[in-house]
Structures are given as C-alpha cells and as structure tokens.
Amino acid sequence: MVSTELQDSPTGTRTAAAAVDDAKAEGRAALVAYLPVGYPDVDGSIEAAKAAVAGGADVVELGLPYSDPTMDGATIQRAAEVCLANRTRPADVLRAVEEVASTGAAVLVMTYWPPVDRYGVERWAADLANAGGAGLITPDLIPDEAAGWLAASQEHDLERVFLVAPSSTDARLETTVRASRGFVYAASLMGVTGTRATVGAGAADLVRRTRAAGAERVCVGLGVSTPAQATEVAGYADGVIVGSAFVQRLLDADSPAAGARAVGQLAEELSAGVRTRP
C-alpha cells in the first residue's frame, strides 16, 4: 500500500500525497507539472515553476538534468542539453526546490539515478529534505535496485515515486506499489516523453491494475499535453502529469519572462482541464 503517513510531514513540507488527496477532496484530479531546472537558466526555471503553481499546478516535478536521458524524447532532451551547457548542478536544483516549495506547492525532483548515485544517496536525501522537497521520481531506478534509496527516503520522510508501465506484470505492479510512497507514476504508453495526439489507450487499464495492486494514488504521465487530454485522464486517474508541453512553451518563448507567462497560461488551461467532467 502507498503510505499515508506523509500527510503531515514533520518538517512541514507539503507532500505530493497531500496535494493529490486535497484535489481528490475537491472532486478532481491533481495537476502535476514537470520543468527542468536550468532552462532557460536556473532563475528562469524557478520563475517558470512558480508560474505553473500560480496557474494551478498542485505538484511540481523539478528535473535534475542528466547527460543521457534515455526516457526522454527530443523536447526534454533539448532542454536538458541547454541546462547542462549552463552548468546546472545539484546545488542549483536544491535551491530551486527551496524556492518553489516556499510557494506551498508540493515539489518532487525527477532525476535519473547516476547524479544521485554520484552525489551519495544518503547525503542527497538529507539535502533534499532540508530544502523542503517532498521526494523523488526515478525514471531509471526500479525498486529492485533501490535498497539505498528506500532506506534514505524512510530516514528523511521523503516520497518515492516509482514508475509502472503497460508491460508491468501484476507481480511487478505489486512490488512497485509496495515500494512507492506518495503516488505511483503510470506511464500511459510504451515510449518516451513527448506530446502526442492521443493518450495511450492502455492507460486507464494500467491505472485500474495499479489500483488493484494496492495503490492509493496513481498519476498518469507520458503524452498528456492538452486540456482535453487532461480531462480524459482526470476521468480515471488521481493526477495528470504534463512535461513536454510545458517545456515546449519554454523552448518557443523569446525571453525567460515570456516563457514563464506561457507556462502559467498552459497551467491555467490544464488546471481547467482537470476540473472538467469528461
């Protein structure tokens, strides 16, 4: 079962679990927005994330850029390359976490595992908790390899969001659900991040199977980019995760301020989407 013990974090950190539950209490799904720290620069990404919160995002995923993002499509990879060219470092991500968390939003860091492994799992968990982060989403860390992270996240009351996929067996769904805290991230399709015309047809079934495996909260990501898609996914999931569509707004903007405005506007549209009955 996904733990509910994080509803009131001892440090006062807003958790993703609480954000999703509050949305549920309002009779809607939560909106989860992904933005990479360091695009167009660190301050610009913080402003964009705050704009997403102001526009209605309940949870923010801040991306720690990585040189080999195998789960990401061209849009997010292009942004990550700029982040790295800007020398965005873990300390920048922690500063972004602190500033965005100060808005009252739940802040998760989405990271590939090599940077955390290099930083030191225990040290990273301590620093993330101190910064007010709620936890981590780990696209390339499965529970089987996560012993160090399971221990450190327990120690520091952090959420750990693992992914499930349409190819996951029922046994693996159970393992992953048991290891997760906060919510479970259901990948809507077999593929990488990026906007798509339709949400994966198997997403609803994956949410159903993940719930049957014991998950309290299941949020759906990969390929969700429009208000209509948000409405569709909100019909069966506890949260709607949007990444590439936000990043594309930043890539298209001709200034950091314009990028943040565009992100805020998209958040408003998607926020309306998750409040609309299908």
């Binding site: 990585y66 080999d68 090599p114 930083y119 390899e145 190819s167 996951s168």
Partner: protein, 426 residues
C-alpha cells in the same frame, strides 16, 4: 578462483561483485526478463546450440585460426606472440559471434525486427548481415560523428538492407547511439529485439553477449595448447565496452597462471582528459543500465570520451570487466592513439596484416607485455577485427594521401550518398 573460493568463470549476473544490475525504465523490465528466459533455455537446448554451431562453421568461418607473428614479436622482447584471428570472420570482426546468437534468439522469441547501436560500424554491419540472413527488419543507430568516420560501414549496412539512423544528440558517438536505441526499444519492445553489441547494459546483456563471445577464448585456449604445449602466459585484448576481451578472457578466468590484460583507449593520454579509459581513469558509477566503471564528472554527468577508434570511443565498460579489475583478476591499461597507431603500422609492415585500430591497442599492449615477460613467454592477442574500415583514418594519420585528395573524396562521397535512409529501392 575468487577469494571466496568460487570460480570467476561461473558468474552469471545480474551482478558481478558490486557491478551490474538493471538501472532501466520499468517499461523494459518485462523485455529483459523475456530475453533472460529465452537465453537461459536456448543455452540448454542442444538444437539451438547445434544451429548456432552450424552457422559458425558454414557462415562466419569458425574456428578462426591462430597466427604466430615472429617478425612482429621481434619488437616485443622476443616473446612468442600469437594472434587469434577474429578479423578473418565473415563481416571482419568478432561481432558476428554475438549477433548470430542474438538473431537466432530474436526468431525464437517470435520477434521480426532487430535494432542495434554501433560505433565503428562492425556491430552494425554484423547485425545487418544476420538480419538479412534471417529475414529480419533491421535498424541501426549510429552517432552522426561516427557515420562520418565510418562512411564505408554505413554503406555496407545499407547494402545489406538495414536502415541506418544517424544520431545527432550529445557527443554524436556510440553512447548516444545506445541512448537512441533504448528509446526505440522502449517504444517497440513487442516486436523488436535490441541486439546489444557489447558486454555492457542491463542484465542479461552482459552475460548474454559474453556467452556468445566465449567461443573466441575456448578455441584460442585449445589452439595455444596445440601450438606450444602449454597455456599462454598472458592474454591481451582491447577494451571498449569489452566484448572481444571478455570473449577471449573468459576461458582463462580460472587459469591463475594466465595473466589477463585489457587495453583501453588512452586517446591523447589519460592526463589530458581526452581519452576513453573508464577503468584506468574513471570511477564506479551507474551508466546505461548497469553499475560499472564510467567516465563521469563530479555531478554524475557522463564525460565525453575520445579515441581515434570509433569502436573504443565509449565512456563506460561492462560490469564483468569492472569486477575483474576491482578484484585484481585482470589488469587494465590505457594505450594512447599514438601507441596504437605505431603498433598498427608495425603489424602491417612486419606481417602483412592490417588490423582494426581497436585491435591495434591490444597489439601495443602485447609489445609491452612481451618486453616485460621475456623471450620464454607466449602472449595471446585478440585480433578482434580487420582494418579495412579504418584505412581512411590510418591514411590520414600517416599522411598517406594529400588533404586535397581527402577533401575531393569526401565531397564525392557526400554527393553519392543516398539521401533517404529508407525505401531507396536499392
């Protein structure tokens, strides 16, 4: 034997000591489990093994021969130097050993499409070859920089019916081709097998590829015994991802009297930072699906590698090599571009054999080993590939053609290149 008394050669993964594992998206776990199961049952199936052995005998040209190279050895302190001639295999390298096995597995799993990554193109050519032989659709990802360095192998793959996709992300070399192949695979895993080219990546690839490359060492061990009456004193092999080296090392892992030496690409020299030597000058970390030695910066970002050899231009190395290095069973050393090219020229001039530049790194190592071990010693070298793909690079290195000729040749090649990677109707 290991310190715990277990056999080095008996390790099957997913971990080799502290190395290995599966650091992958959940979406790939089912496929990796499927490959693991197919591999395990296939290796216990006499029918599968017989079919593979027949392909080796009648198609790829196994057993490959052993060639003693006394004129080359005269520069190696007089030690006996013998070459395991994987360069004589069909498609020109050891890569065909692995790919024939994986193509058979692809059919066994009921998949009709095969994808691969390639650096120098040898694995890509081997995969395209096996796909043509077995009627599989084939897509090969190759860094854009490598498609330029290895244009001839791009042409070969296209002639064989494969689609070659140049990868323009990142450093535009092998690691980026691996990333792109993983992206394809996560989207197509129902119909597609990813024929990983080396003993790296998530479990079971390191053990799967090793099992298909073990034949190199099994043959060589017996051939050296037949030739000299005893085991070699040392085995030398180049190490990029590490498949040819594991292939020849594996049969000797439990022969404690046989020293195992892997030679990484030292590029401009490890002290310059421009190299591809993760064991010699990297650290343990997670990279492309496994814990291994890798070239990372202090934030865990992958550092771009450099080597004159596209096939060794990779910032990681397989987990079994990482374990053999950490345990001290094998030793790894950097060889610079200059040292490798000097050995390349020496083999050409003394023995009439043009080696792949990858293999030239092992030849450079053998020269050092021979001088160190003395005239009574026998050094076995994996000549993992032949150098026809590298003639252009070598000609530039040695100044054998004028710059004007090279520019004209390049322009002609670009003009003649197919503009469309698919459906060209060739």
């Amino acid at each position: 034997m290991t310190t715990s008394g277990r056999s080095f050669g008996a390790e099957r993964g997913p971990y080799f000591g502290a190395f290995g594992g599966r650091f992958v998206p959940e979406a790939l776990v089912a496929a990796l489990d499927e490959i693991d199961a197919a591999h395990t049952t296939a290796m216990a199936d006499p029918g599968f093994l017989a079919e593979l052995a027949e392909l080796h005998r009648t198609y790829s040209g196994r057993p490959s021969i052993l060639t003693e190279v006394p004129r080359f050895a005269a520069h190696a302190g007089g030690a006996r130097v013998v070459l395991k001639r994987e360069d004589l295999n069909h498609t020109g390298s050891h890569k065909i050993n692995n790919v024939l096995g994986q193509a058979l597995l692809t059919k066994r799993m009921g998949k009709h499409r095969i994808i691969a990554e390639t650096g120098a193109g040898q694995h890509g050519v081997a995969t395209a070859t096996a796909a043509a032989l077995m009627g599989l659709e084939c897509v090969v990802y190759m860094g854009e920089e490598d498609t330029r360095r290895q244009a001839l192998n791009v042409a070969r793959m296209r002639l064989l019916g494969a689609t070659v996709v140049p990868v323009s992300a990142g450093s535009r070399t092998l690691k980026d081709a691996v990333n792109e192949a993983f992206r394809d695979w996560v989207s197509s895993v129902d119909t597609t097998h990813y024929a990983f080219g080396t003993v790296a990546g998530p479990h079971p690839f390191p053990v799967l590829v090793r099992d298909f490359q073990r034949i190199v060492g099994i043959e060589a061990r017996q051939q050296v015994l037949d030739l000299t009456g005893r085991l070699p004193d040392a085995v030398a092999a180049c190490v990029g991802g590490g498949s040819n080296a594991i292939g020849i090392f594996h049969a000797f892992l439990d022969d404690p009297g046989v020293a195992l030496h892997g030679y990484e690409a030292g590029g401009d020299g490890v002290e310059t930072g421009r190299h591809a030597a993760p064991i010699s000058a990297g650290a343990a970390g997670v990279f492309q699906g496994a814990r291994q030695f890798v070239m990372q910066d202090e934030d865990g970002q992958t550092v771009e590698s450099h080597s004159i050899s596209a096939g060794l231009d990779y910032p990681g190395v397989g987990p079994e090599h990482s374990w053999l290095a950490a345990s001290g069973r094998a030793h790894y050393h950097p060889v610079t571009d200059t040292q490798a090219m000097d050995a390349f020229r020496l083999l050409c001039r003394t023995e009439g054999i043009i080696p792949a530049i990858e293999s030239a790194h092992a030849l450079a190592g053998a020269l050092d080993l021979g001088r160190e071990l003395g005239p009574e010693a026998t050094v076995l070298v994996s000549l993992s590939g032949r150098g026809d793909k590298d003639v252009d690079t070598a000609a530039r290195w040695f100044g054998l053609v004028s710059d004007a000729d090279l520019v004209a040749s390049e322009a002609e090649r670009v003009a003649d290149a197919p503009q469309d990677t698919e459906g060209s109707g060739w």
